[in-house]
């Protein structure tokens, strides 16, 4: 069993579904110090992803690239562009491949993290979605069982949110109010965590701690 265009399409459908309730939550998180559009923007972007016919893509790489293309037409926000970067990175890594082993997921997310860092000129530790990606990559690294991956991913997201909540933001709009950001979740990192939670929901995993 491996990740193929159907796995990808299922994940997108679930993520898109989750945006119904997530949009307001993420907007509210962004409104605390930013311009309050993280939810709206993610909903628009994932809605664009959902309207792509990924299942009929010739291969997994082409599926990711089709998502990147749809995204490039639908968002101008920083977070959106980082997600498009993620799709392009995954697309390049899986170019021409029908599927990808679960065991390669960790490396893929690590590559996405690095590409996003390069694109966003962001460091680790700045309290952005990138710290979320980093935690995720490390948590799933070396695992090949989808359920074990789901459990690890969910726990990693809970932990990274908790860890960074007490730290100041150094990137994005919130950096203007670095002190005020202490105690608040970064909206991009929170969005990643919530979407991952939605995507793996049917694995029935519960946090370890």
């Amino acid at each position: 069993m491996a990740i193929d265009v159907n796995t990808l399409a299922d994940a997108i459908a679930r993520a898109n579904q989750s945006m119904t309730s997530l949009t307001d939550v993420l907007n509210a998180a962004d409104a605390k110090l930013g311009d309050g559009d993280t939810g709206t923007m993610l909903a628009r972007l994932i809605g664009a992803f959902a309207s792509v016919d990924v299942r009929n893509a010739p291969d997994l790489g082409a599926g990711f690239m089709a998502l990147a293309k749809a995204g490039a037409a639908s968002t101008g926000s920083s977070l959106g562009t980082l997600i498009i970067t993620a799709m392009m990175t995954a697309g390049k890594l899986t170019a021409g491949q029908k599927d990808m082993d679960w065991s390669r997921l960790g490396d893929t997310i690590a590559a996405i993290r690095d590409a996003a860092m390069a694109r966003g000129k962001a460091e680790l530790g700045a309290k952005t979605i990138i710290d979320g990606l980093d935690a995720l990559a490390r948590a799933v690294d070396g695992k090949d069982d989808p359920t074990a991956i789901a459990v690890a991913a969910r726990n990693a997201m809970d932990q990274v949110l908790a860890e960074f909540r007490q730290r100041p933001s150094a990137m994005g709009r919130a950096r203007m109010f670095a002190e005020k950001s202490v105690g608040l979740d970064d909206p991009g990192m929170l969005g990643l965590a919530e979407i991952i939670r939605a995507v793996i929901a049917d694995h029935g995993a519960t946090p370890l701690a």
């Binding site: 311009d35 309050g36 559009d37 923007m41 995204g71 490039a72 037409a73 639908s74 968002t75 101008g76 926000s77 920083s78 959106g80 562009t81 980082l82 498009i84 970067t85 694109r119 966003g120 990137m171 994005g172 709009r173 203007m176 109010f177």
Partner: protein
């Protein structure tokens, strides 16, 4: 906040349609038509100059497409960067085979999107350069000038780059004059009242009835201080002294923009300009081609900014060159 609009979801598209209907020299291009280009074909061999940014700042950004200024411009939703595709569309429209300068404000999303669009352009053998407007002195210290936001002063870079491109300058020359103008342009603004994004539940920020925020950005980004309002002359004095603190040693002539952020009327801009002129004169600077009016706005935001572009002979000549767009005509 009341607005004369229809469905907020159609705000940008209806606005762009109206703009192009009123100014047939402009046309919408691209799949989703979120780039504006000149209606005349790009002159082969001429360097293209493009910009891009969110809606809600007219005349910036799209209003400066025209002869001797921008060749094309990507436009996003209100206060949102243009999409990667729109940036690509603008670059493609401005491609005359001699490369394209991307000249836009220093904002995270815009930067990433133009960067990605440039990578795609490179695959199609369109060479690009990027120069970022960083004129807002309130947004970072002089040591971190590269972190400053781009605000009203960007239009001086448009004018100089557009003129040199028109005159046949090559891509490196056009990019380097744009960078020189950016390096010699400083802006500081003061905000009196907020604007509201169409469809949003409330204003972008709030500010007390008797307070102003000094140094606030054009999306309501935080400034330097928020205090009781002061007389215009006292404000101008503070603004000018901050601007002149970064005056290049060689500068004796200066182009000035006294800009309305939206609802501040011409009368007040002229009251400000009167003092600006007195102060620059006292500082031994000669004003060249002052611009007074709403050149870079935030919809109905109240307030004004002052931009100084410290001239050298090259820049002064380029600012004087003929140019013609819906909001700025020279010669």
């Amino acid at each position: 906040m009341k607005k004369l609009i229809n469905d907020p979801a159609n705000y940008v598209d209806e606005m762009l349609d109206g703009l192009c209907l009123a100014h047939p020299g402009l046309k919408r291009v691209g799949d989703d038509r979120r780039a504006i280009a000149r209606d005349v074909p790009m002159r082969q061999g001429k360097v293209g100059v493009v910009s891009g940014g969110g809606s809600g700042h007219l005349p910036l950004f799209t209003g400066y497409v025209g002869q001797g200024l921008l060749d094309a411009c990507a436009i996003g939703n209100v206060f949102e960067g243009p999409t990667i595709n729109s940036c690509q569309d603008a670059i493609a429209a401005a491609n005359g085979g001699a490369g394209v300068l991307c000249l836009f404000g220093n904002y995270g999303g815009d930067k990433m999107n133009f960067e990605m669009a440039s990578e795609f352009a490179a695959m199609e053998n369109i060479e690009t350069r990027s120069v970022l407007g960083t004129d807002d002195i309130a947004s970072a210290s002089p040591e971190e000038a590269h972190k400053r936001r781009g605000v009203a002063g960007l239009i001086f870079a448009y004018k100089a780059a557009g003129a040199l491109a028109e005159a046949g300058g090559n891509l490196d020359a056009v990019a380097s004059v744009a960078q020189k103008v950016v390096d010699r342009t400083r802006t500081i603004g003061v905000a009196l009242s907020s604007c509201q994004i169409p469809g949003a539940a409330g204003p972008n920020f709030t500010i007390a009835d008797d307070e102003i925020e000094f140094g606030m950005g054009i999306h309501g980004e935080p400034g330097i201080w928020r205090h009781k309002i002061r007389p215009a002359d006292a404000l101008v004095d503070e603004m000018i002294s901050m601007l002149l603190a970064e005056r290049p040693a060689d500068a004796s002539r200066v182009a000035v923009l006294v800009n309305s952020l939206g609802s501040t009327p011409f009368e007040e801009l002229f009251i400000l300009y009167r003092r600006v002129a007195q102060q620059l004169d006292a500082a031994g600077l000669t004003i060249v081609r002052p611009l007074i009016g709403p050149y870079v706005t935030s919809m109905e935001m109240g307030g004004a900014s002052i931009s100084l572009c410290f001239l050298d002979d090259e820049i002064e000549g380029l600012l004087a060159a003929a140019a013609d767009c819906p909001f700025w005509k020279v010669g």
